[in-house]
Subunit: 214 residues, 2 copies
Amino acid sequence: MTQSPRTQPRPVRKTRAGEANESRILDAALGAFAERGFHGTSLADVASAAGLSKPNLLYYFRSKEALYVAVLGRTLEAWLDPLRALDAARDPREALAEYVARKLALSRDAPLASRLFATEILQGAPRLMAVLEGDLADLVASKTAVIRRWIADGRLAPVDPHHLIFAIWATTQHYADFAVQVRAVSGGDLSDPEFHAETVAAVTRMLLEGALPR
Amino acid sequence: MTQSPRTQPRPVRKTRAGEANESRILDAALGAFAERGFHGTSLADVASAAGLSKPNLLYYFRSKEALYVAVLGRTLEAWLDPLRALDAARDPREALAEYVARKLALSRDAPLASRLFATEILQGAPRLMAVLEGDLADLVASKTAVIRRWIADGRLAPVDPHHLIFAIWATTQHYADFAVQVRAVSGGDLSDPEFHAETVAAVTRMLLEGALPR
DNA sequence: GTCTATAAGCGGATAGAC
DNA sequence: GTCTATCCGCTTATAGAC
């Protein structure tokens, strides 16, 4: 499932130029929607950022809503990917550390996607509810089983699996979603390699070892 | 500083009825802005939710922007409060546990305020930047000193103070800001006392003790 | 203080030429 | 496929009576 369902048909792209346009539109739309939200973004913004006219944009996507859904759909897979990779067969310390590292890499490399999803979920996820209750819930259910197994084997402390996953999501996405606050308060930014490395180390350490002395 | 600066003067409230109206408007506006964002909210929405006409609303607040800033200002203190209460004199385990508990209580009792700030910061904090770089940065600086002292005394593991604070903010606010996702994935909601208690215990445990067996 | 009426402008979407 | 011109509804804000 690489595309979200579309309510209305839309021209199938045939030419190289058409595909390139569609891609440029989606990039421009991601930036606009992530920074100003659905209602704060006008089609004129997106069209000019993508370098074409408003009616031409609407030739590629039949409505603002359809464009928004397409942007969400395109970024969805990258969003779900790191959790899919959480590997039951590995040592929990390594597997969880790698999950944190992948999520933080995503916060650094795709902060706009993170903010887009954050905004959507903050507002009640009207267009993502089906995914949250479907694919995401299923995926999380399978991963909580992995965590429970680790706990049963004594390789992980008896932490609630759901809350562990929430804690990883929250701490890692924080650096993308609240980047301006992080910067205002600490001066750091994930785009700075040094700060990124410190963040990976600090977040991994806190989640795995905790803040109290051992 | 209980009010944010206002660019334009506005009628000073004199009567009981006037104050009550102003308060009802701010409540209605908080709900609307938190759920649909600044641009997704119309003054007609707010006016009808507050039980008065649109022009009458604009008698109390001279513009939509002024209303939005007033809502932000009114909720700001409650937002900063728990961190102010983080007490250097106490045992770090107890002080941090209480901070987590207070933040989670706020996520349960004032989720709309949490979502309002989250949306604002996500979009670059255009109207809060001064606070983030001023009061908040100062407050955080004083609290990182507390944490550093605890570490120097060997009462806390050598975690980076900024990242510890970010981790607490992220994990606690997650349950308000991403409540629909939490519910979709785990079925829980902070308004359920049992889930709230579990959450306090799980988050505190993870941050203090970590996920690995001790 | 509160209302009805209305001005003024923006933004999504379409018509239709090229 | 791409554009110019345009329609039309919605929204902020004001005028002015009560």
